[in-house]
């Protein structure tokens, strides 16, 4: 039994209320359910953001940024259209390519970023209104302008949340004022955590691990920890082959390999040296050397796989013959 228009609308409202920033995640079935199977005119419009996680690392496309701005527009629209009539006329959706390749084809999505508006009267999805490439330059404001132009609905001005709210600022200031004398007293007595060398040691090693993992690259490029395999969606891909980018899990794994060798070397030279029994020393050293050797070999292999770099030993010409 085809659902009635009001049922579909209520379902969309329900989905929106549980979605982050009110952006509903669509897949192929949802496209069929809410768009192609519903006779025109539909009681609502849909604006759809097409996402591709495996392209988040491409800094020229700036997909994570546009996605963030899209959610901002959605949240603003919901806030400013909280009444019954306008709030249910437009819904913000997103489709991710790994889940919904068929939908990409139905909308004729050939390049990203891509935003489509499905109006109540749209029948052929390839003819849905598309946000012009130039409109992307202004981000949320341009998206809002596009929405208002196409749907006649009002989004109002974009409200960007402050990094820290006023209340939080007040609390922080109060905490600082109250705790400063106490902190000074503790510092003078030498009783704080800061006086413990182990805290600094762990912190230093952690910052090192954090940095050589390429974590700043992951943050700046908004790389996911892993992606799904194109051919088999049940498998996960943790390493990507492009030398100019990396996934989060990949970075942490290699960062761990970088760090563990040094830690084991320090363990041997500072701790194992104090062990009394020779057999225990041999066992510990064997373990440390094996793990270190494996870690170095692993990094060399991964680097070769990723960048093609190989060891090029130089031999005198007379030896080569």
């Amino acid at each position: 039994n085809p659902k009635s228009d009001s049922d579909l609308k209520n379902e969309l409202v329900s989905l929106r209320s549980t979605a982050e920033s009110g952006v509903i995640s669509f897949n192929n079935d949802d496209v069929s359910k809410f768009i192609t199977s519903v006779s025109t005119p539909r009681p609502y419009s849909l604006i759809i953001f097409f996402d591709a996680v495996h392209l988040h690392g491409n800094s020229q496309l700036r997909l994570p940024e546009f996605r963030r701005e899209f959610r901002l527009v959605s949240a603003t629209f919901i806030t400013n259209n909280n009444n019954e009539s306008n709030g249910t006329k437009l819904f913000f959706c997103e489709i991710e390519s790994t889940h919904s390749e068929a939908s990409f084809r139905r909308f004729a999505v050939e390049s990203l970023p891509h935003i489509s508006l499905v109006s109540p009267t749209t029948e052929n999805l390839t003819e849905s209104d598309q946000m012009d490439g130039g409109d992307f330059t202004g981000l949320a404001e341009s998206m809002a302008e596009f929405v208002e132009r196409q749907t006649k609905l009002t989004v109002c001005s974009i409200q960007r949340p402050p990094l820290i709210s006023k209340t939080q600022i007040g609390i922080i200031v109060a905490i600082i004022i109250i705790s400063t004398p106490i902190l000074i007293k503790k510092i003078l007595k030498g009783e704080t955590l800061l006086h413990d060398h182990r805290i600094w040691l762990v912190g230093a090693v952690f910052v090192y691990f954090f940095s050589v993992s390429g974590t700043m690259h992951n943050i700046i490029r908004e790389m996911p920890m892993y992606i799904k395999d194109y051919e088999d969606s049940s498998k996960f891909v943790f390493f990507i082959e492009e030398s100019e980018m990396q996934l989060g899990a990949e970075g942490f794994f290699v960062g761990f390999l970088y760090t563990v060798v040094g830690l084991l070397l320090a363990f041997v030279t500072n701790v194992v040296v104090r062990v009394k029994k020779l057999d225990e020393q041999r066992m510990a050293m064997l373990l440390a050397l094996s793990i270190s050797f494996w870690a170095v070999r692993k990094v060399v292999y991964l680097d070769n796989w990723k960048t093609g770099y190989e060891i090029y030993p130089y031999w005198p010409s007379s030896w080569r013959g």
Partner: protein
């Protein structure tokens, strides 16, 4: 000192010390030779030429300095660049590099060694990399002794990250700045260890040299205050810390303000505020400690409350003033690059020029493997070694590695600052590891023989390092010991309890490892070092030796050389008038002024965004509009770099998106969307009409179809869209052998344009029309 300590000159200890010192000096000399030699691949494989882009400007400045002297250098206004704006050179360059090379050139010529300016410039970087190795030795020696110092120096001589900025021919600021950075840190630690005002003064002078050399000096004036604050917070304040810090801030800031390119930025920009805040804090702490020494405990509490309260009030006032200053500036007083470090996403959001530079990108993990290689594995061991035991000097080095590794994670160029820290840490780790493993082997071999004489030798061997240390600094060592004992006395009773147990442990058993495991570990470490050497030589020979002005490719017939750049600059130099203006994208500005000796519109000193946007707009516009822009700038020639024939990817078509974005950022009628098809820049049959009509497309692909009949672009890997077209406002005058550089001349205006121009001029003011009449030679 050795003679004083051991009255018998023939004793084994004295002989060993003397031999050790001689051996250290010899090793350091060899390390210097290594650092210099490994950077000569570019000279051997190509020839002695300046590399890349920026170094050509530095070379030209050095030429001017050597000809005209230092006062003309300070006052130099260069009208051959950024036409018609020009550029004040003396006040906008970091003079350290050019003054250094100029002094070397002057000194050599005074000795009747007639080296050319270019030769001196080419070899300045390798020479200073040797100096940097020696500075690294001095720095690490202050932290952990000679062994670690030598290891760190050897590692720094070869570290690829540093090689990349200091090969022969890479005449850029980093060539001397890295040496200045390391030397400044050495003098700071030396002052910290000795409490000597002499070294504090040298520290300020070294900082001054660093300020003269590189904008990265802000790293020093932020790192050292952090270390001072760290020492205070962890209860390690001492008068030596005050002597190390206070003169540096006062003298260093005064000296920094003397450098024209810095000037009052030394006291006005946020990069320097941390040092002033810590300056206040250290005075408050010093006052508290002083009062503590002269007052009774009860009076001390009252006084501390008073002093700390006043100190806090002063700090708040200063913070309020600083916040007001920061708030009045749109960027918060920080430079664009510093903001990119504090907010990693800042550059891509707001400053396309910064984001467009490849060395401002965040690195991935393979970058660490490439640039510091096996040091990435050893650094954690070095960090832990610095904590056993933690001293003021070793805490500084830990802070240095932590800050530099974090910053290197944000901007790949700052791998250059990380490299010395990684070498120091790895040197410390290697030195400690070798001490443990070789000591174990020696002990085990000695134990197996069960000989009394061997036992005695082992005992003396164990004492040798201590003797070396004490021999090196008898008086200072005693002072340090006294200070340490006084500190320990102040601390609680726990330590006296700990001491006997530690001693007992030491007596019970020597700290050794099994013989065979130690040998295997040593061999693995040596293999790791060998891997490092091979990688560094490969990096120096293959990855970083290319001058970029001369390109090569390997083929079956051997090495093939593409010398189109120099070919084209030579053409400009010989076939155009000295006062002709050349327009190009800013990448080629320095080379054009230095090699062709022609005036350019924009160059690599990207200080005027509007001017760059004007050139970007012209390149993005149709032919007629572009002609009018260039004509208004008195441009006579346009230079375009095109890699489509041979597959050179760093050409102007691949940089075109930045011309559109930067141009469109200032001139709204340039819209990026007009050049995009499905979100991509395309030059094939699917390209947009705006793209196919843009000046950049036309100048790149003019007559290109004649090369193979199809117009296949080897970089974009597609056939071009519009193959047969004519130029109406520009005339091709030169195309280099491999079509990499193409030069076009602006055609004189046609009669109808002259008529239109006259009509247009009548609408403008008379002043403007008279100016244009003077400027435009074609009317």
């Amino acid at each position: 000192m050795a003679a004083l300590e051991s009255p018998l000159p023939g004793t084994p200890t004295a002989m060993r010390n003397a031999f050790g010192n001689v051996l250290s000096v010899l090793i350091l000399v060899l390390i210097g030779v290594l650092a210099f030699s490994i950077r000569l691949f570019s000279v051997i494989k190509y020839e002695s030429v300046i590399h890349e882009f920026d170094p050509y400007f530095n070379y030209r400045v050095t030429q001017f300095l050597s000809k005209n002297g230092i006062y003309e250098f300070w006052n130099w206004f260069d009208d051959r660049t950024w036409y018609p704006l020009g550029r004040v050179i003396g006040g906008t360059v970091y003079p350290g590099l050019t003054l250094t090379a100029g002094t070397i050139w002057w000194g050599l010529n005074s000795l009747n060694i007639p080296l050319s300016v270019e030769t001196v410039c080419v070899f300045t970087a390798p020479v200073f990399s040797a100096f940097a190795s020696w500075a690294t030795y001095l720095l690490t020696k202050e932290v952990k002794g000679s062994g670690a110092g030598l290891a760190a120096a050897a590692l720094l001589a070869m570290v690829p990250s540093y090689i990349s900025r200091s090969v022969a021919g890479s005449y850029d600021n980093e060539a001397v700045a890295i040496f200045a950075l390391i030397f400044t840190f050495y003098l700071y630690i030396k002052t910290l260890n000795t409490g000597s005002l002499f070294y504090a003064t040298l520290n300020a002078l070294a900082y001054f040299y660093m300020v003269c050399s590189w904008g990265g000096y802000t790293f020093i004036i932020n790192l050292i205050p952090m270390h001072v604050l760290l020492c205070i917070v962890t209860g390690r304040y001492s008068p030596r810390l005050y002597i190390a810090y206070a003169p540096l801030v006062v003298l260093g800031t005064l000296l920094a303000a003397l450098v024209p390119v810095v000037g009052f930025n030394a006291v006005l920009t946020s990069e320097h505020f941390a040092s002033f805040l810590v300056f206040i804090i250290i005075h408050v702490v010093a006052l508290v400690y002083y009062i503590k020494g002269i007052l009774s405990p009860k009076m001390f509490k009252v006084a501390v409350t008073l002093v700390v309260s006043i100190g806090m009030v002063v700090c708040f006032i200063v913070v309020a003033i600083l916040v007001a200053l920061v708030a009045s500036s749109p960027t918060g007083g920080w430079s664009g690059r510093s903001l990119s470090l504090l907010d990693p996403t800042y550059a891509s959001k707001y400053i396309p020029i910064i984001a467009s530079v490849s060395e401002h990108q965040p690195p991935t993990w393979p970058s660490y493997f490439m640039d510091i290689n096996v040091l990435a594995f050893l650094v954690p061991a070095g960090i832990i070694a610095c904590f056993s035991p933690l001293s003021d000097a070793s805490s500084f080095v830990v802070l240095y590695i932590v800050m530099s590794v974090y910053f290197s994670g944000v901007m790949v160029r700052l791998m250059l600052v990380l490299a010395p820290a990684a070498c120091i840490m790895s040197g410390i780790a290697l030195s400690q590891a070798f001490d443990v493993f070789t000591g174990s082997i020696k002990y085990q071999l000695g134990a197996s023989s069960n000989s009394t004489d061997d036992a005695e030798d082992n005992t003396s061997t164990n004492n040798a390092p201590k003797d070396d240390v004490s021999a090196g600094k008898t008086d200072k060592g005693e002072e340090i010991v006294k200070e340490r004992s006084s500190k320990k006395g102040k601390k609680k009773e726990r330590e006296p309890a700990d001491k006997p147990s530690v001693k007992a442990k030491i007596k019970k058993k020597a700290l050794v490892l099994p013989l065979e495991a130690s040998i295997v570990a040593l061999l693995l470490l040596i293999m790791l070092g060998a891997f490092y050497v091979i990688h560094c030589v490969w990096a120096a020979a293959e990855a970083y030796s290319a001058p970029s002005i001369v390109l090569t490719s390997q083929s079956r017939d051997g090495l093939h050389v593409f010398d189109d750049f120099r070919e084209s600059y030579a053409w400009l130099s010989h076939n155009t008038d000295v006062d002709d203006k050349v327009a190009s994208w800013w990448d080629y500005g320095y080379q054009t002024t230095a090699m062709a000796n022609r005036t350019v519109i924009v160059d690599n000193n990207t200080w005027n965004n509007t001017h760059i946007a004007t050139v970007g707009t012209a390149m993005s516009s149709p032919e007629k509009a572009a002609w009018e822009i260039f004509n208004s700038l008195d441009v006579k020639y346009v230079l375009v770099v095109f890699g489509g024939l041979i597959g050179y990817p760093s050409d102007d078509i691949n940089k075109f998106l930045w011309m559109v974005r930067i141009g469109g950022g200032v001139f709204p009628h340039i819209k990026e969307a007009d050049y995009l098809r499905d979100g991509q820049y395309r030059i094939d049959s699917e390209a947009t009409p705006t793209m196919l009509n843009s000046l950049m497309y036309k100048l790149s692909y003019y007559r290109f179809v004649e090369t193979d009949g199809k117009g296949y672009d080897r970089v974009r890997r597609t056939e071009i869209g519009k193959k047969h077209f004519k130029l109406t406002h520009f005339e091709e005058v030169f195309t280099s052998h491999h079509w990499m550089v193409r030069l076009y001349k602006l055609k004189p205006p046609r009669n109808r344009i002259r008529g239109k121009a006259k009509k247009l001029k009548s609408k403008t003011s008379s002043g403007l029309s008279s100016k244009s009449a003077k400027k435009n030679p074609w009317v």
